[in-house]
């Protein structure tokens, strides 16, 4: 028997289908990640995925909600991947587990589960980790060929799970601060942009390696746009604001403010523009609202990067703008059919 009420037909596109496509769109970025930094990231992705699914199942069970259909929606996996991509691949295993479990349990399910969380769970997980374990959060891998030593996959595993490095290898030899972090530190030491960018960790636009990973996320972002899984408003408004703000400062003082392309291809800007800010649950629904939301995030990202206490501002910019979403939605309701004149 069909349903009792019209419409009796639906388009066979499900939430899990959509989320699966977003996961697929992350693959070019992940592939480039592996190419430049080795397979350690795959370990944290796996760890985060397993933790996310287990936490999700537990939370659903505790609330007496159906477990299987909800687990199959792929949303927990997406949170896990976004979080894993935001933290250093060499972070100890328990950090990935703590961050992911917190993201899924507290910031998603305690707020009512899928669709009800006001904050992006992956960014909450990131915020918890960077506030609680700031030192571990700086252990970014040095791109292949740039460090004095590079670890084999087994050696990486050993470090992640047991914290043991091969004899004679120091942590400093295999990790480094991110290009954004280095820039910030060097500027504090009164360095000039021109000189700083001559350091070996910088490539054409931003950090060697990391700029390519960012490009991989752009590619994935275009896939999402082409499949209409996201609309143009958020990425365009975010990147444009970031570019314009950075551009203004750069024009005013090129010695101390790096050029806008550097900001685009550093840190989580591209991942954020296409994958994090575009999370439908935690972003506005109206076209104008999306633009305001993303522009705000772009501005905040720049301000935190240039003047704040953290090297990257993506996560906090996202969370701060998440707070504003209900307000933005309420004030940007579009005019409806037949009522576009002055009076409705």
């Amino acid at each position: 028997m069909p349903g009792f009420f019209s419409p009796f037909i639906t388009r066979p596109v499900s939430v899990s289908h959509i989320m699966l496509n977003v996961l697929l769109a992350l693959i070019p970025g992940i592939a480039l990640y592996v190419w430049f930094y080795g397979p350690a990231i795959l370990v944290s992705l796996t760890l985060a995925s397993v933790t996310a699914l287990a936490t999700e199942a537990l939370m659903l069970k505790a609330q007496n909600k159906p477990v299987t259909p909800c687990l199959k929606d792929n949303t927990a996996l997406l949170t896990a991947w976004l979080l894993a991509l935001s933290i250093p691949p060499l972070a100890p295993w328990w950090m990935v587990v703590v961050g992911t479990a917190f993201a899924i349990s507290v910031s998603k399910h305690l707020y009512g589960g899928l669709g009800n969380n006001p904050f992006n769970p992956a960014m909450i997980g990131y915020a918890v980790l960077i506030i609680s374990f700031p030192v571990y959060m700086t252990h970014w891998l040095t791109p292949n060929g740039l460090g004095e030593v590079s670890l084999s996959f087994l050696e990486q595993l050993n470090y992640i799970f047991q914290g043991v490095l091969p004899d004679g290898v120091k942590l400093d030899a295999i990790t480094m601060a991110t290009p954004l972090d280095t820039l910030k530190t060097q500027l504090h030491l009164n360095g000039q942009i021109k000189d700083i960018l001559d350091m070996p960790i910088y490539g054409r636009l931003a950090g060697i390696g990391s700029e390519w990973v960012a490009a991989g996320f752009v590619l994935g972002g275009f896939y999402l746009l082409a499949r209409r899984l996201i609309s143009w408003h958020i990425p365009v408004a975010y990147l444009a604001t970031l570019f314009i703000t950075a551009g203004i400062f750069h024009l005013l003082d090129p010695a101390h403010y790096v050029e806008p392309m550097f900001h685009w291809f550093s840190g989580a800007a591209m991942l954020g523009a296409f994958f994090i800010l575009t999370d439908p649950v935690t972003s506005p629904t109206t076209p104008r609202g999306k633009i305001i939301f993303a522009a705000g995030a772009g501005l905040l990202t720049y301000l935190i990067r240039a003047f704040g206490g953290f090297p990257d501002g993506m996560a906090f910019a996202t969370l701060l703008m998440n707070i504003c979403v209900p307000l933005i939605d309420a004030y940007t309701q579009p005019k409806i059919f037949g009522k576009k004149g002055a009076q409705s």
């Binding site: 028997m1 069909p2 349903g3 009792f4 009420f5 019209s6 419409p7 009796f8 037909i9 639906t10 388009r11 596109v13 499900s14 939430v15 289908h17 959509i18 159906p66 259909p69 909800c70 929606d73 949303t75 589960g113 899928l114 669709g115 009800n116 439908p280 649950v281 972003s283 629904t285 109206t286 939605d329 309701q333 579009p334 005019k335 409806i336 059919f337 037949g338 009522k339 576009k340």
Partner: protein, 559 residues
């Protein structure tokens, strides 16, 4: 080439039209009985004009229009009335309604028909009267009495839009009608144009019906119809909704609660134009219509069907397949599951889809809304369905109204695209009905309050009148006494002892008391209103009236 406009959103569901539009319209066999509801139109029930046991002729009046907004119902064939009682009917409510059951005698014998070879010779009032008496209503699904839509308006009607879009999947009855009876449709349109004094006629047909477009264009040329254009419009659901088609053809957006005639446009379905022509030129009341029978049947096709034909008898003629589990009247997007398979075909029946669980599998369980706004992307009314869903679910009805709940035309596009399988339209129907229920409750509470206040004031008035009457009587008694012979002086010197004076004092007290009482009755807050308050009240009343009208007219924009 005419510039066409777009409306926001819309979807492209599989059309499933080719199954049923390959063969010509077939005359359906005379059924064993006809179950004819007396309420097949928007407006008042038709008044029963026959009684059980009576023999009637084809075209004889069964129910006469009652009141301003109503329509007539006729016998679709000759035969005997066996019952006039409550039966399940083809309506969304599922509530039984008064039906006439007619057993055909097989002779199909017509009543004397008043045909008219020259409708131009008739006055417009006479034309409208004949349409009303012939039971002509909108056949696009809204079944609004056509005569009511054919008044020359105080705003000049520029454009008469003829709706042949037929955007719902599966349905092909208008397609076939245009292919086969284009000339008569256009004659009907000319009549409508004359009644409306409309300048131009735009006939909108979706471009997935090339044969119908060709047939209609040929008929326009052959009939030498001027200022009449057949326009192929893009195939997009719900492009056949009256508001959407008007938008596409003229660029005009008709908001909810606004009559299109106020904006210079009137819209009719092609089937209505055809029936209007048959009614005037041939004197044939609306006793049959074209119905697409499709879905889970061996031979999907279109039939010319007598109103009242039991659906199962009709579908059997298209070779119903055994696993059929029910009938959907209308299309899969806005159609209604029939309460029984034996209900009679009504004037609104454009299509019967035999449903099976294979054809319409049960939807997967609904997941939470992820605010992906695919619904907002496809909403032709440009609403925010995800917000309406949220408010409806929370029963936050004021907020739902703020977000234009009543602009929703229930086209189902949002439900169709929802990746979480949320039955969105159901939530909106629920919220609307809750609001109507509240309105009704408020109205009856208002009435009760008014009655109560009236009673209070009546009691007070009666009390006052009694007191005044008493006072008056006693006063006249005093006066009568005063005119009587003078009292001894001694009495005057001792007023306390004077019984008359004591009486007068008492009277004075009673009068004062009555006056006090009268003064104590405060004016009601509904009296002594400022002009501003009056205007506000008028505003509120107008809004309420509009909502009620909408309640009646929700099916108005049905594609």
């Amino acid at each position: 080439m005419r510039t066409l406009y777009q409306f926001h959103g819309g979807i492209h569901p599989p059309t499933n039209k080719t199954q049923s539009n390959q063969t010509p319209i077939k005359q359906a066999a005379l059924p064993s009985k006809l179950i004819i509801p007396l309420h097949q139109h928007v407006g008042n029930n038709a008044r029963v004009m026959v009684e059980a046991g009576q023999h009637v002729l084809k075209g004889q009046l069964l129910g006469a229009p009652e009141g301003h907004l109503s329509s007539a119902v006729h016998a679709p064939t000759s035969g005997t009335i066996t019952a006039i009682d409550m039966q399940p009917v083809a309506h969304a409510s599922g509530i039984p309604d008064l039906c006439v059951t007619l057993i055909p005698d097989g002779r199909d014998e017509w009543i004397a028909r008043e045909s008219c070879c020259d409708w131009q010779g008739l006055t417009h009032t006479e034309l409208r009267h004949r349409l009303r008496q012939a039971g002509v209503v909108g056949l696009g699904g809204a079944v609004f009495p056509s005569d009511m839509k054919l008044y020359a308006h105080k705003h000049k009607i520029k454009t008469l839009v003829l709706n042949g879009a037929e955007c719902e999947p599966y349905i092909t009855c208008d397609d076939l009608l245009m292919r086969e009876r284009a000339a008569e449709i256009l004659l009907g349109v000319e009549m409508m144009r004359a009644l409306l004094y409309a300048e131009e006629v735009l006939i909108g047909i979706e471009d997935n019906k090339p044969e119908a477009i060709d047939a209609m264009r040929a008929a326009v040329a052959a009939g030498k119809h001027e200022r009449m254009e057949v326009i192929a419009v893009p195939t997009v659901y719900p492009g056949g909704g009256a508001k959407q088609l008007i938008r596409v053809l003229t660029g005009i957006e008709v908001a909810a609660g606004v009559r299109s005639t106020n904006l210079g446009v009137q819209c009719f379905n092609v089937g209505t134009a055809y029936s209007a022509w048959r009614a005037i030129h041939h004197g044939e009341p609306l006793i049959s219509r074209i119905v697409t029978v499709t879905g889970n049947v061996g031979h999907p096709q279109n039939f010319e069907v007598l109103i009242g034909t039991p659906m199962d008898e009709l579908v059997a003629q298209a070779d119903q397949l055994p696993d059929t589990s029910g009938y959907i009247m209308g299309g899969p997007m806005m159609g209604v599951l029939m309460p029984s398979m034996q209900v009679g075909v009504v004037k609104a029946t454009n299509c019967i889809i035999a449903a099976s669980s294979k054809l319409f599998p049960k939807a997967a369980p609904a997941l939470p809304c992820i605010r992906c706004i695919r619904c907002a992307d496809v909403c032709p009314a440009e609403l925010q369905p995800q917000e309406l869903y949220w408010f409806s679910k929370a029963k936050n009805l004021d907020k739902a109204e703020d977000y234009h709940l009543f602009d929703c035309i229930e086209c189902g596009a949002c439900s169709y695209v929802c990746p979480s399988n949320i039955p969105l339209v159901q939530y909106y129907r629920f919220a609307k009905s809750e609001i109507w229920a509240q309105e009704a409750a408020k109205k009856s509470a208002d009435a009760a309050r008014e009655r109560h206040e009236f009673r209070e004031s009546r009691i007070e008035r009666e009390k006052r009148e009694k007191a005044e009457k008493l006072a008056a009587r006693e006063k006249s008694a005093v006066e009568a006494r005063a005119q009587a012979p003078l009292q001894p002086a001694v009495a005057a010197s001792n007023p306390d002892a004077d019984p008359e004076n004591t009486m007068q004092l008492k009277i004075q007290i009673a009068i004062d008391h009555a006056k006090e009482q009268a003064a104590a009755i405060k004016p009601k807050n509904t009296e002594q209103l400022t002009p501003q308050q009056l205007a506000e009240i008028a505003d509120i009343e107008a809004r309420r009236a509009r909502i009620h009208e909408l309640a009646k007219d929700t099916s108005d924009g049905q594609p």
